[in-house]
Symmetry: C2
Subunit: 111 residues, 2 copies
């Protein structure tokens, strides 16, 4: 068993071309023995966004705080705390903060 | 892509022998196309607990609300919002609400 506190986890800039004002913390990953999937906290700051992108991994997300949208090539959906999202393999998606506070999401991904 | 609101998801009693005052909502599961892992919201009410148990699946958990503990056969750890826990395969664990409000946890599990 491994437990920790989010505020003690290293904060990185989300490493993706075109990303704006977005931080990522890897809460549980292979380093902690999680071989199947990882848990990250993604924080999209005011005015921040993650551009449309796709990858073979799925996402399972839970909105903790703030307001934003998740978008595909031709649609978008508003998100607020308590909302959850499943993004399938190779499904193009992006996210954007539409509010005044941080838009924080738990984002799990298979490894 | 599939998105939803936690408050619109069916609430079940956690089906386990010895469990007390604990609800579970399956937010993302095989029904939504998630073949690799599922995301649930587990709510341990005041005075509630999940007894020591083990299974071949791992857990990755994030505490949303309230106060409680996760325990093994010979230790326990206090948890509060923003804490996260990795439980490995076949590792015996249980949880208990130690506060006055609901102790709510996002609990992911491989399928």
């Amino acid at each position: 068993m491994y437990a920790g506190k989010t505020k003690e986890v290293k904060v990185d800039r989300l490493p993706m071309e075109g990303v704006k004002n977005t931080a990522i913390q890897w809460l549980i990953s292979e380093k902690e023995g999680a071989k199947k999937f990882a848990m990250r906290l993604v924080s999209i700051k005011k005015g921040g966004a993650i551009p449309l992108h796709s990858h073979p991994q799925i996402h399972e997300q839970y909105v903790l705080k703030g307001n934003g949208v998740i978008f595909t090539k031709d649609s978008e959906r508003e998100l607020s705390p308590g909302d959850f999202v499943f993004v399938d393999e190779n499904e193009a998606h992006g996210m954007r903060n539409t509010g005044d506070e941080d838009f924080d999401i738990i984002c799990c991904v298979n490894l």
